[in-house]
């Protein structure tokens, strides 16, 4: 379904999925039902300014109505910048950021995630960084820093620990990214 189709047409509430709200509550959005749609979170959200159709309070409302397909067909939830402003301002302590995160978890389970996210996850597994600038080594050297930053990139032990964690997460069951016993140097141009 294209973006245009996702925002037009009659929503059939009877076809909503009543289980979605419960799923979200278990996946981290525990305070979902506290929302009164006051929109204070929306007023603080950069996604709203950027024009995304499903921002925090609207995500919450759609979850409560069980609009699973509508949410999965839309990429908005992946645009959350994790700034946490919504959580700071929410008068009902709903923690809208966590609800958006929980919705991402639901989406991933249905493999409804953008390609870019797969890249990010793969990079996270391989390097310990969701976004890793492989070509930054030269720049670092120019200013007198070691080519590899003192993180998982430089420490094979730390990276292996991280990979162990990821292999024991829900991500492993989904098989979205290959999870070999590989290190940084073999997979990335570090």
């Amino acid at each position: 379904m294209s973006e245009m189709q996702a925002v037009t047409g009659v929503v059939n509430l009877s076809a909503g999925d009543p289980a979605l709200a419960g799923e979200i509550r278990e996946l981290g959005g525990a305070e979902l039902l506290e929302c009164i749609q006051c929109a204070k979170c929306a007023a603080a959200c950069p996604m709203v300014l950027a024009g995304f159709s499903f921002f925090n309070k609207k995500v919450i409302h759609a979850i409560l109505l069980g609009l699973r397909e509508e949410l999965l067909d839309d990429s908005s939830i992946w645009a959350c910048q994790s700034c946490n402003r919504c959580t700071e301002v929410c008068p009902r302590e709903v923690n809208p950021f966590e609800v958006v995160q929980a919705m991402r978890r639901v989406a991933i389970r249905e493999f409804a995630l953008p390609t870019l996210s797969v890249e990010g996850l793969k990079s996270l597994y391989d390097t310990g960084h969701a976004v890793y600038l492989a070509g930054a080594g030269n720049t670092r050297a120019k200013v007198g820093l070691p080519e590899k930053p003192p993180s998982t990139v430089a420490s094979k032990k730390a990276l292996q620990e991280l990979q162990t964690i990821i292999r024991n997460s829900a991500l492993a069951d989904l098989g979205i990214i290959p999870m070999g016993e590989t290190g940084v140097s073999e997979t990335c141009e570090v």
Partner: protein
Amino acid sequence: MHRIGVFVCWCGSNIGGVVDVPRVVREVAKLPGVVYSTDYKYMCSEPGQGMIIRAIREHRLDRVVVASCSPRLHEDTFRKAVLLGGLNPYLLEMANIREHCSWVHQNDPEKASEKAVAIIRRAVAKAARLEPLVQKRIPVTRRVLVVGGGIAGIQAALDIAEAGYDVVLAEKQPTIGGKMVLLDKTFPTLDCSACISTPKMVSVARHPNVLLLTCAEVEEIRGFVGNFNVTVRLKAISVDYDKCTGCGTCWEKCPTKVPNEFDLGMSYRKAIYLPFAQAMPNKPVIDREHCRFFTQGKCRVCEKVCPAQAINYADQDKFVTLQVGAVLLATGYELFDWASVYGEYGYGRYPDVITGLHFERMVNAGGPTGGKIVRPSDGTEPKTVVFVQCVGSRDEAKGKEYCSRVCCMYTAKQAHQVLEKIPGAEVYVFYIDVRCAGKGYEEFYLRALHEGAQYIRGRVSKIYPEEKKLIVKGADTLLGRPVEVAADLVVLATAMIPSQDAAKVARVAGISADRDGFFLEAHPKLRPVETNTAGIFLAGTCQGPKDIPDTVAHAGAAAAKICTLLARPEMTIEPVAAEVNQKLCTGCLLCRDVCPYRAVEAKEIEEKKNGVLQRRVVAEVNSGLCQGCGACAAGCRSGAIDLKGFTNEQLAAEVAALCGW
């Protein structure tokens, strides 16, 4: 020449922020008769009143003008101050330079100051012509008529009776209890409505100071505050309550079934019936419209089976007259007839589209389904229930402009009950705003949300049947999308409107109603239980939509006001009343026609004309009834009527002063 003192109030910045008060004081000092003028920040305060009292004595003032707010607010305050200064309290004239000047001319201080001077000039001109007036005392009948036996009437009757006064409680239905006794649980505490109202019904019916009249309608109210003469029609019930024991044999054996209005037609009763099991009085009446004996001339089954010989087919309507000192109207509300106008909801053709009151009867253990929520069409349990708010409320095109105040809360309560009683039920509430202003109300709404009620912000545009379901179409304005639900049951929160008889009652009692037909209180904030007709009081939803807590509070307030009126054997009445100069009166009685308070009566007098004794008719004003509106004085063609405190001479002087003649 009189010695007039002018006191100009700043009212903080309300007047002083716009009107140049010191300049006004200087200018009004030059007016004829003014010997003293001054100003103060808050003239109504203790020091402000003290200034008036001292000035009267020190400057030997004989008339006082206070330029401040509306006389409705503080005329009484300043009259008391003038009295303390040693003058007759009616030698005060108010000049309203706040509501009539500073508040409406905020953007033009210069002209506002000029206008303030003109308003005071008017008041000074009238003050120079004021005459002392004396309040009259009239006796009070210490007995009250309460019209309407719902929770408002019951509560007020109990409060007044407990204070030691006699009460006549007149209810047009065969039982008291009103609407409250029909409800199931009440928000926000979920206490059972019948459990808290039926004991009150019993208390009021058994109270030694209360005379309960059911099947009673007030036909006429004559007289005035403290001394009303009321005629009540007691409709023929065909059962002698002195003999009847309420045993129930008659309605068991009666062969005629009639839809029961107390269950909104969802169950049947007999032609001789008790409206519901806890009815008070707990004795039956015969519904002559349906009774086989009255319609076909034969049957007499109830008469044959009655062990007490209490059936009396020859019973006739009776009229009783009562003397009372005050009348309390508590005629309640009914629901807006949505089916006649809401075509988009099916004009009442779909049996599974019901009102909130139908839902109450259904969910009530004593109701037609024994407490089960079912679809009226097939008796099955609904899985998806849609509530539609504001049906007839906040809808100027089809219903009323106002908000009915109770629907948000009872809908939340009914949503809770559906979710509680039907496992796995889905509840949708279509709303415009959720209004939960009351103690514990918002919390209750949040509870309904928490229990899973889906609130959809938007009005429903269409309901239509599709197979066994009702398709409800609306828009979710929070989602920004049109939505639809396939519902099993739709519950409409219909508007509260005044009871059918309200217009007749208003006419009989001589009071006004607002444009929606609710009785008009004397002041929306400061006199919420009084009417503009002295001695007629209001309680409950006849004055405007209210929930039970507000109704009970309103009724208690009305009872307290009535007790205050009855506490003394005599009462004083305002001397501002019309007076007929019989020498000038031609007896045309136009004044009688225009008087809204029925205070003018024809009177025959004897007088000598050319040495011959003659009789002729003149008008006479009953000063107990007269409210001082002036309609008669304005209408009188021969100038025979003057309103004390607003005489023709005074008014002419005011006009002249305003126009600068």
